[in-house]
């Protein structure tokens, strides 16, 4: 079995484990009624470790898995949001962010905040007006608390993701070359 395939299997198992924890322990971690979102954090870590493509793929599957356990929003809304967040994080990482562990919480905070806003905005555009029914103060609270949770959980989640993704195409690509925002910067021949 190739190392790439093994890495994919490990990442798949990590997503499975993450949704299990999210749906069982996530609600116990509510601070002022707001729960953390492990799935978007995984997408952000994938982008940071594997670049645009890995971020997009992992984000898509994380979102789709999360969608299976939601009831009020259509299937695909989280997949779309997390895919974009994962890809954007990966593009930033490949473009100009350096590989520093201290950067991960910062990126996790920003990425999570943007993901909440993006989820609500795309949802509203697609007719899911109930997402805004609880009011602006609730939205701000979700952004702040979820981002704070992302800062706390980002380092352990990134370490676990790094372990799962070792040997994957994305980590190899980022480990050897640095890419542009949506492409890759290759050494001159």
């Amino acid at each position: 079995m190739s190392t790439h395939l093994l890495a994919r299997i490990r990442i798949g198992m990590l997503i499975f484990f993450a949704i299990l924890v999210q749906t069982t322990l996530g609600s116990d971690l509510r601070v002022t009624h707001v729960a953390p979102d492990l799935m978007v954090l995984l997408a952000i870590c994938a982008g940071m470790e594997g670049g645009t493509e890995a971020g997009a793929w992992v984000g898509f599957w994380c979102g789709l898995t999360a969608d299976m356990f939601l009831t009020a929003t259509p299937v695909g809304l989280s997949a779309l949001t997390y895919c974009l967040i994962g890809a954007a994080t990966g593009a930033l990482r490949a473009g100009f962010l350096q590989e520093r562990r201290a950067l991960i919480p910062v990126v996790a905070v920003l990425g999570t905040a943007v993901s909440v806003l993006l989820f609500v905005t795309i949802g509203d555009v697609l007719g899911q007006s109930q997402l805004l029914a609880a009011g602006r103060s609730w939205l701000i609270r979700v952004v702040v608390v979820e981002s704070a949770w992302a800062a706390v959980l980002s380092i352990p989640v990134s370490i676990i993701y790094q372990w799962a993704a070792r040997g994957s195409a994305g980590t190899e690509r980022l480990g050897t070359t640095r890419g542009s925002v949506i492409g890759e910067r290759l050494p001159a021949k």
Binding site: D28, D37, E53, G63, A72, V75, L126, Q130, L186, A188
Partner: protein, 280 residues
Amino acid sequence: MAVYRRSNRTRYVLAVLVLAALTLVTIDARSNGSGVLSDIRTKVSDVFSPLQRATHSTLQPIGNFLTGALDYGSLRSENQRLRNEVASLQQQSVESAAEQAAAQQVLAEQHLPFVGSIPTVTAAIIDNGSSNFETSVTIDKGTSSGVAAGQPVVDANGLVGSVLSAGSHTAVVVLLTDPTFAVGVQLPGSNIGTAEGIGMVDPMRVTVDSTSLAPPKVKVGQDLVTSGLNFEKFPPDIPVGRVTAASASPGQSEPDISLAPLVNLQQLSFVQVLMWAPES
């Protein structure tokens, strides 16, 4: 020196994933909760439920510890309140042990007094809802136990919500604070109102429906129960919430009423699903 090469593959992958997600959203939104994707959701929930149940019971001590750690202030006050309550109960028990025994017997026989003769199914919460934009929980009973969409769900304190969808071994219960939830309530003076959820942290909002009668005089602290009118989704007399505010704005005959649910939605463990349908 480095040269740049646009990665068509990355763009292609991203475009395909975005289109796939948009397609799924469109299909699911158009099917209005009754299509293939909803069936898949229900099936996934069913398949996943034993694992969720096992994980939930395994992680419960960690969850309780974390909940306690994150909610230390309110736990202290809750502890104090319970100490006072225990002291008060001990005093009462000394004074009227015989009366209490009789009352407990009656309570045990009647179980939930507001349920009456409606058959119930006891269910455990296996997923308290981890999303921040929907207020629902998943229970460990489904169609195989007689649970069906639309059935009311209660606990010892009153109305919890109603079954939104049911798989064979699990069901999703939408809580009464959800913005899509509405229930008819009895108001003073034979008035009828509708209590609607407006989010996880805010109290419910009650609008007065019957305008031909004199405006209801609602007092803060009063408990409101379901109206149980024809075509109403809930049987009558189930406690819904306690009035936290009732005031009429200038020039307005009907009061703005806020209602706090009687049920502690943050600490649901077991609920009763009422085997009840409007036509019965």
